[in-house]
């Protein structure tokens, strides 16, 4: 990968290599524009790479990602940098100077992807790709379909002895433990911020007791449990004791639509839950499922999807926000008030899933980068300045809407580069 490339006149910088950033970068490059694409993770694909399936088609995200990666590889107009973040931005529309920093992967381009280093490595690290549901070796690929297909070394997780063993195991001299962070500057005409979202921190809702029981997981963790390349190879088991849950509870709006947490609606969680009900049904055809909700936001063509699921006699929908979760010896009890009947509901379940919402990932750094954000931390798109936001950096959205927004952002960036 080239260290410094500043040709830049009229080039577009896309920050973030998730589905929005990838889409924006590809759409601009396929018009014929020069594009730089930077991604903070060691792989492209972002959040959607962590999803088992998309709603409502229940198709795997890696199918579309594979096409997008192929498009990236076939397009000489895109230059891609992983493990890279923006440090500072100066200049104005048409001539921005953006300083970026690439963190060391400790694995250089000699890496063939053979995996001998993994065999040699005995130290482990927490698997952040799987939201802590398991461990990986200290030298790892974030997931099997990760692109680019290069290993990453978590040097801090290794003993000196292990480091040496890893080094010795590589026939291609690809392990470089002395690698340092690199800073470089890009000259571009406009920037697309496609920095995406983080799951809202569930420990902030103290009443929901996340972290206090192994029977409480988040919806993103559920995606990993259901994924064939996840920590359980696609079995939905309760973390910790690997028990097959006999009952499930979904806690909707865990943080969203709540002025103490996220005042907006996170857009995707209702449909995500509907989709996850299908994951459960595939594996546990009879298990009772309880969904506690305020409104079921499954509009338009999603209504049909919901209708099918609501016909299931073992799936119960209760209009009422969960007020409390009580950890039990085996599972948890969900406490809520049924808004229609006024009854107080206490429902014991073996596994409960918090439908946590999305928080804009760039929220904390935005002002330092000169970006205008709204009260919730979403980046306000400013085409006049050539600072354009896309996807979930701009607003909470599903994948389709993010792709649309990213395609639109590509045009705004091209206009700014004229």
């Amino acid at each position: 990968m080239t260290e410094q490339s500043a040709s830049g006149a009229g080039a577009v910088l896309v920050v973030g290599g998730g589905i929005s950033g990838l889409t924006a970068a590809l759409e601009a490059a396929e018009v014929g524009k020069d594009v730089f694409l930077i991604e903070k993770n060691p792989y492209l694909g972002g959040r959607v790479a962590q999803l088992n399936q998309y709603f409502p088609k229940l198709c795997p995200p890696s199918c579309g990602l594979e096409i997008n990666f192929k498009r990236v590889q076939n397009n000489r107009k895109i230059r891609m940098y992983t493990m890279t973040q923006v440090k500072s931005v100066s200049g104005s529309k048409g001539s921005y100077e953006v300083t970026c920093e690439t963190l060391p992967r400790y694995v250089n381009n000699n890496c063939t992807g053979c995996g001998a280093c993994v065999e040699a490595c005995s130290d482990e690290r927490v698997d952040d790709f799987n939201f802590g549901l398991g461990k990986t070796k200290a030298v790892y690929r974030p997931h099997e379909m990760s692109f680019p297909m290069k290993y990453v070394l978590d040097k801090n997780a290794c003993s000196r002895d292990t480091l040496q063993k890893i080094k010795d195991s590589c026939k291609y001299d690809a392990i470089d433990t002395e690698m340092e962070a690199k800073t470089f500057t890009l000259n571009v005409a406009s920037v697309i911020w496609a920095t995406g979202w983080n799951p809202y921190d569930p420990t902030k809702m103290t009443n929901l007791k996340y972290g206090q029981s192994n029977a409480i997981i988040t919806n993103m963790q559920m995606e990993r449990l259901a994924a064939p390349n996840g920590p359980t190879n696609g079995q939905i088991l309760r973390p910790g004791d690997n028990v097959e849950p006999k009952s499930f509870g979904f806690v909707q709006c865990a943080g969203s639509r709540d002025e103490n947490h996220l005042e907006f609606c996170s857009y995707i969680c209702c449909m995500a839950t509907m989709k996850q009900i299908t994951y459960i049904r595939e594996r546990y055809p009879e298990a009772p499922i309880y969904v506690f909700y305020i409104d079921l936001r499954t509009p338009g063509k999603y209504e049909k999807f919901r209708e099918k699921l609501m016909a299931d006699k073992n799936t119960h929908f209760i209009k009422g926000k969960v007020a409390d979760i009580i950890p039990e010896a085996d599972g948890v009890t969900l406490v809520a008030e049924n808004a229609v009947t006024g009854d107080k509901v206490q429902q014991k379940v073996d596994l409960c899933i918090l439908a946590t919402g999305m928080e804009p990932a760039i929220k904390a750094q935005a002002s330092g980068l000169g970006l205008e954000v709204d009260s919730n931390g979403f980046v306000v798109s400013n085409a006049d300045k050539g600072m354009i936001s896309a996807g979930c950096a701009k607003k909470a959205a599903d994948v389709v809407t993010s792709a649309q927004s990213a395609t639109a952002a590509a045009l705004k960036a091209i206009q700014a580069a004229k």
């Binding site: 018009v31 000699n110 063939t112 026939k171 857009y267 209009k319 709204d374 792709a403 705004k412 091209i414």
Partner: protein
């Protein structure tokens, strides 16, 4: 191009240990190539070995037998004037070996997988010989001007944004004014933080901006009669709305229909019209088209219990908006907004609502309150749909104590002396409701114009409208989640109400994206390359017309309507409409369609390159033709996850199963191979095929070939098709194992050795 070959075998990543490298080298001898080996071809030294041969010996076709073609593309890219062919001996030979067992010891396994890899080396060498350098297709005349159909928010925005990027645009609008539905709105939804207040309409400013833009021309009171041609060179005939002309878009007349018309059994629906291939000398040229003809309010008279049509106190949201605009709500003291028609039956919104009508009800409740501070608004919903930032507007509305919001199952609306009574159950008030109101507003949906009209009026062999409209409730959508703009008509993109019920904010984004796609389609046509999903591909199907029998299969089966035909039925290709899937090539019984780097002869020769032992009952040979987008990566992934892949199978990636010509399967079986399997994407309503129809078509063709086989005395079970998702890596080895076992049970092919 004078081809000079260089072949290379990588022995790294365990290949050298797992396989007999000398045997691999000798496998290339039939092609006259003598591969060089290296322990890491992708590394600097390995690449230098190749680069030196390029520099010193003039090698321009590089055969790399190493890892999967899915990886290391950069490392093996030696420039646009070189051809690189990849043989996958890492993932699909060295890495997918089975474990030693009682049946097979280590040496036997090595022998089997070496034979497998030898076939891959042979195939790669043959492929190199049969691959030619692509030459991009260039249109004789190229127009980079965009036609936008529809002058509402979507169309105006698309035009404005395309013009801002430097492109010329024409807007064609049926009515006498620009602005569309938005002209009737009193206020707009909030568009920026804190999302608290309704905003003044911006449509006037948008219309003025478009009308003063020198790059945009506007044709009012005009509609499109027909669109012929292809991206970069569309030929558009306009007409006065509502008139019939000889240049109207002809209805689709299929092969069977043509017969019946000829025999006088059917009336020609296109009588009096110009043939769809006819060129109108007065037509205007465009490079791409954006369809933004919007939506129409849904008819709600079918919901008898809601009283629409029987009481004039029951109106739709669209009618209420007009009452407000006309200043006719001054005397109204109470309004009930009914969001869901299902009563106690179901809790869905009216069809075609999406989340827009929830927002509309909130906005209109505000109108009621603003017109009269004593007035009350009741919003009766099953699920309030205010996704994203709209939630903050909803929350603000809840603070207004003159607006009552409750979940409710509205069971009946009855006329009363002063207005209406609304009966509702399951409310949040703990009791049933009987609301006396002056007016009831029903949250009617927004139906796409594509539900009722052809809209795009194409003069194409496959007919004037978008396909699969029924599958998507009348919306023009190919419904790819990842690629929402793709339609099955290249160079024609849609936005706004024809795609889904959307708010103005969503429409602006959508229209801007559609403008980008239109520009991209023109630029790609200009460069002579494909658009999504084979973006940048310079090849295109070429036809050897002397042998065409006018069977029309290619014309009918192309998922993208790229082929027209002449009076005799000879296909007339439109390369800029083509998406390069090769479905035409797969369809052609005469085998006269092919690409420079992907054709019948090439894959056929690769199959012939597979050595079929004719005297060893243990060494059966099975051909697998595999979708390169999904099933092939799943195989690679299976190998990475250390699942063995059966060594009797030879995998060949194909662009799409639609491109699989049954001649390949027949040839393989007549050459003594024992079975053939196709691995492609899921099809049906939730299809995953990137070319929409490929795997479905292949399944049909494969079923037909089964019949042919039985007539030859071969069991039809020797041919199969399986739907494989890219994530089926843990399942696909067993699926293949089962197929191999079924072939073993059938025994070796009786054609072996002939």
């Amino acid at each position: 191009m004078d081809k000079k070959y260089g072949a290379y075998i990588c022995t790294g990543c365990g290949i050298g240990e797992a396989l007999d490298v000398e045997a691999l080298i000798s496998a290339a001898s039939g092609s006259g190539m003598k591969p060089k080996t290296h322990e890491a071809l992708c590394g600097a030294a390995g690449r230098k070995l190749i680069e030196d041969d390029i520099a010193n010996d003039g090698v321009n076709v590089v055969v790399v037998c190493a890892c999967s073609p899915r990886v290391m593309q950069d490392a093996f890219n030696f420039g646009d004037d070189k051809i690189t062919i990849r043989g996958n001996i890492r993932e699909q030979a060295a890495w997918c070996k089975e474990q030693p067992s009682d049946k097979k010891d280590e040496d036997t396994i090595k022998e089997y997988y070496t034979e497998l890899a030898q076939d891959y080396v042979r195939m790669a060498c043959v492929q190199a010989k049969k691959t030619d350098m692509p030459e991009p297709f260039k249109l004789e005349t190229m127009t980079k001007k965009i036609l936008v159909m529809g002058g509402g928010i979507a169309g105006l925005t698309a035009a404005k944004e395309a013009a801002k990027a430097g492109y010329e645009v024409t807007i064609v609008e049926k009515s006498g004014v620009l602005g569309g539905k938005a002209l009737g709105w009193t206020k707009q939804f909030p568009s920026k933080a804190p999302y608290a207040n309704l905003e003044e309409p911006t449509i006037g400013a948008l219309v003025a901006e478009v009308e003063s833009d020198a790059k945009i021309s506007v044709k009012k009171s005009t509609e499109v009669a027909r669109i012929g041609g292809a991206p970069g060179n569309f030929s558009v005939t306009f007409k006065t709305p509502g008139t019939k002309t000889e240049w109207d878009a002809p209805a689709k007349v299929g092969v069977d229909d043509q017969d019946r018309i000829a025999k006088g059994q059917m009336e020609d629906p296109n009588a009096g019209m110009q043939n769809y291939m006819a060129q109108n000398p007065d037509a205007e040229k465009y490079g791409a088209v954006i369809l933004a003809t919007g939506w129409v309010p849904a008819d709600v008279s079918g919901y008898e219990h809601l009283g629409y049509g029987t009481s004039d106190k029951v109106v739709t949201n669209a009618e209420f908006e007009k009452m407000v605009k006309d200043g006719k709500i001054g005397g109204i003291k109470s309004v009930a907004f009914v969001q869901s028609p299902g009563g106690e039956e179901h809790d869905m919104d009216f069809p075609y609502c999406n989340s827009v009508t929830s927002m509309v009800a909130l906005k209109q409740a505000k109108y009621v309150r603003d017109a009269n501070s004593d007035a009350k608004a009741y919003i009766l919903y099953q699920h309030m749909r205010t996704p994203g930032n709209a939630e903050m507007f909803y929350k603000g509305i809840q603070q207004d104590d003159g607006i009552f919001l409750t979940k409710a199952s509205v069971t009946k609306v009855e006329a009363s002396d002063s207005g209406c009574v609304v009966h509702a159950k399951d409310t949040l008030l703990g009791e049933d409701l009987d609301l006396d109101v002056d007016l009831v507003v029903l949250a009617a949906g927004m139906e796409p114009t594509t539900k009722y009209e052809n809209s795009i009026n194409l003069a194409y062999r496959q007919g004037p409208a978008f396909l699969d409209l029924d599958l998507f409730d009348g919306y023009s959508d190919s419904h790819f989640i990842c690629f929402p703009y793709e339609t099955r008509r290249t160079g024609i993109y849609t936005c706004g109400g024809v795609r889904k019920a959307m708010t103005m904010e969503e429409t602006v984004d959508d229209a801007t994206g559609a403008a980008l796609k239109a520009i991209q389609a023109m630029e790609c046509a200009d460069r002579g390359v494909a658009v999504h999903p084979r973006s940048g591909d310079q090849t295109y199907p070429e036809f050897f017309f002397q042998r065409c029998t006018q069977c029309k299969r290619c014309t009918e089966e192309c998922p993208f309507g790229a082929l027209d035909d002449d009076e005799k039925g000879t296909p007339q290709p439109n390369p800029t409409r083509c998406r390069r899937c090769g479905t035409c090539m797969g369809a052609c019984p005469e085998r006269i369609i092919g690409f420079k780097n992907y054709n019948i002869d090439m894959i056929g020769s690769m199959i012939k390159a597979i050595e079929v032992p004719d005297d060893d009952e243990d060494k059966l040979r099975i051909l697998a033709l595999v979708c390169e987008n999904d099933a092939y990566p799943a195989l690679d992934m299976a190998a990475m996850r250390k699942h063995p892949l059966n060594s009797l199978i030879r995998f060949i990636p194909v662009r799409c199963l639609g491109s699989v010509n049954m001649a390949w399967v027949k040839d393989a079986l007549s050459a003594g191979m024992d079975g053939a399997i196709l691995l492609g994407c899921k099809y049906g309503d939730d299809y995953q095929c990137h070319f929409v129809k490929g795997s479905e078509i292949a399944d049909k063709r494969m079923a037909n070939i089964g019949e042919t086989l039985s007539s030859l005395g071969l069991e039809k079970e020797r041919c199969a098709m399986e739907q494989i998702a890219i994530t089926d890596y843990d399942k696909v080895p067993q699926i293949l194992e089962d197929f191999v076992q079924s072939i073993i049970d059938l025994g070796p092919s009786p054609f072996k050795g002939f």
